[in-house]
């Protein structure tokens, strides 16, 4: 029952033992605990329900966008399919609107459906009070340059990678190569155990040996 509840309610309150924030996590002070609405019109608390102790990817968009957003969403769809085994379990993707006045949950649902992102576990589209959405946008995506920070369209081509469980923050251009995006996402993964590191090293060495045998040098250095 417990397991079912966990897997089915991916935006529900997570069990504390599964998603534990890092000791240095800024918590709701920076993330805010604003009440937001998902594309399925569910109310969620931004920090408690979506961020707390989790590894998340956050991008900004708006439903009526004909510029970067559709392209970025397509890219994210590919990133999602690459990481689909983890999505909704230990990795979550949030697409937040920069036009909350225009984008109600229904508009976000339409957008998600249009881009084949509707119903994918772990991918949530979010809207809310413009006051809260602006606070979150500045707290997470601020570049300390007034002209850039006020340009909501400029933010639609940034992907924030945050792991509240390890308190790691990174960002990547969603138009970067897939290997770059995936590598950056992995940088925020929780530290591997010693056995996992040994196994990864063993695999890497096998790959290097194979390349050396084939090409005479390490090709993917």
């Amino acid at each position: 029952m417990k397991r079912r509840a966990f897997f089915t309610s991916f935006v529900g309150k997570p069990p504390d033992e599964q998603f534990k924030p890092a000791r240095g996590s800024p918590g709701p002070t920076i993330f805010t605990n604003a009440l937001l609405r998902t594309h399925e019109n569910k109310q969620v608390r931004f920090y408690d329900d979506l961020i707390r102790g989790r590894h998340v990817l956050i991008n900004l968009m708006y439903a009526d966008c004909h510029g970067a957003c559709p392209v970025v969403t397509e890219r994210l769809l590919k990133v999602y399919s690459e990481l689909k085994d983890r999505m909704g379990k230990n990795l979550f993707l949030y697409s937040m609107t920069v036009k909350p006045e225009d984008d109600d949950p229904a508009a976000l649902k339409n957008y998600a459906e249009m881009h084949r992102a509707y119903g994918l576990p772990g991918w949530t589209f979010l809207t809310g009070d413009p006051y809260d959405m602006e606070t979150i946008r500045f707290n997470l995506f601020r570049m300390d340059h007034i002209a850039i920070d006020l340009d909501i369209y400029a933010h639609t081509s940034t992907l924030k990678i945050i792991n509240d469980g390890t308190n790691r923050w990174l960002h990547v251009d969603p138009m970067a190569s897939f290997s770059t995006i995936l590598r950056k996402i992995s940088w925020a993964d929780p530290p591997k155990s010693f056995a996992e590191k040994l196994e990864a090293n063993k695999k890497l060495q096998e790959k290097i040996n194979k390349e050396k045998k084939l090409w005479g040098y390490r090709k993917d250095a």
Binding site: T32, Y131, E134, T135, F138, R142, D144, H145, I146, A147, D149, L150
Partner: protein, 337 residues
């Protein structure tokens, strides 16, 4: 021969009409872009129909009072002095889009008098901060102007050489007066001890800027605004006040928040068309206030320089003390919080 000036490739294409087709297509795209641009330019401008509107006919003006609950009352002039109005009739109204209506549907109420416009559909063909142009099928378009007993002012106040870094207090002040009672809302950067703070400005700080000054370290630009501009600016000012109270400011450095406030309030004046000449404070290479090669100003000084620039650009809009005090009847100001 006529196409000799064209390259052989283009000339061949021209013969086939490809270039002509491309030119037509390009023209069509340009028209679409221009119409899209004008649609976008109007997007931020909202019309709040609630309030009292007067028809342009000065000999027999009719007032239409729209209320929030979907009722509109027609009033006509009565009495010998011509300043009293009596209720003629009341009708129901429905808007097709509450934020940017294009059609107002009126429905007469059986027991509430004969409504001058009857049961009709009013097409809203244009609007700005002061007026709305409406048209009934088969009649000429008429302009209604908003009737408001209050007068509204915005004061952009700033001073330098107060803080240790050469900056000083700077804030926008919004004033609403009906000649007897005056409400003032001032939010921004103000001195607190030897440092500065951001939030609702204390009365002893803003009251200094209620009158003009010759001091070259101070700027005071006062302009009269419409009720709609006032409401828009007040919303911004109150949102920043809320941010300051709730610790939800957008920058950790409050002097940056103050710049955002100054920009937001002044730019809101032009949301429904150019009412003042604005300066583009955007940290670009053309923005010599924030990017001055000689003197890179501290963020505490930028709003002062910005307000000074706006005053220079709009000198004719500045409301002097005499005119301002006549409007407020020099009554003691009452804080709006």
């Amino acid at each position: 021969m006529g196409e000799a000036w064209l390259s052989p490739f283009v000339a061949a294409e021209f013969k086939e009409g490809t270039v002509r087709r491309s030119a037509m297509l390009l023209g069509l795209i340009l028209v679409c872009l221009l119409s899209a641009h004008s649609a976008i330019a109007q997007r931020g401008c909202e019309l709040n129909i609630v309030g009292t509107w007067s028809t342009a006919d000065q000999s027999n003006p009719i007032l239409y009072r729209f209320t929030q609950d979907g009722k509109v009352t027609a009033l006509s002039r009565s009495g010998s002095n011509g300043e009293d109005f009596r209720e003629i009739a009341t009708a129901d109204y429905v808007l097709d889009n509450p934020k940017a209506p294009k059609v107002v549907l009126l429905k007469e109420l059986a027991d509430r008098g004969k409504f001058p416009l009857g049961t009709a559909a009013l097409d809203i063909t244009g609007y700005d901060d002061k007026s709305v142009t409406v048209k009934i099928l088969g009649q000429d378009a008429v302009r209604w102007t908003r009737v408001d007993p209050n007068r509204y002012f915005m004061v952009l106040a700033g001073r330098i050489r107060t803080f240790y870094d050469g900056g000083g207090p700077s804030f926008p002040m919004l004033i609403k007066t009906d000649g007897r009672k005056t409400e003032i809302d001032a939010v921004g950067l103000f001195p607190r001890g030897s440092y500065w703070d951001f939030g609702r400005v204390p009365e002893q700080v803003y009251s200094h800027f209620m009158k003009e000054t010759d001091n070259d370290s101070e700027v005071m630009f006062r302009l009269e605004i419409t009720g709609v501009q006032y409401e828009r600016a007040l919303k911004i000012v109150r949102t920043w006040d809320r941010r300051a109270r709730e610790g939800a400011l957008l920058y950790p450095d409050v002097t940056m928040d103050n710049i955002l406030l100054a920009k937001g309030v002044t730019e809101s004046l032009n949301q429904c068309g150019e009412r003042i000449k604005l300066y583009k404070l955007d940290w670009s290479i053309q923005d010599y206030i924030s990017n001055s090669p000689q003197d890179k100003p501290e963020t505490t000084r930028i709003p002062y320089l910005y307000f000074q620039k706006l005053k220079r650009l709009n000198e004719s809009l500045h409301v002097g003390d005499e005119k301002f005090h006549a409007a407020t009847r020099a009554g003691s100001p009452q804080s709006g919080h």
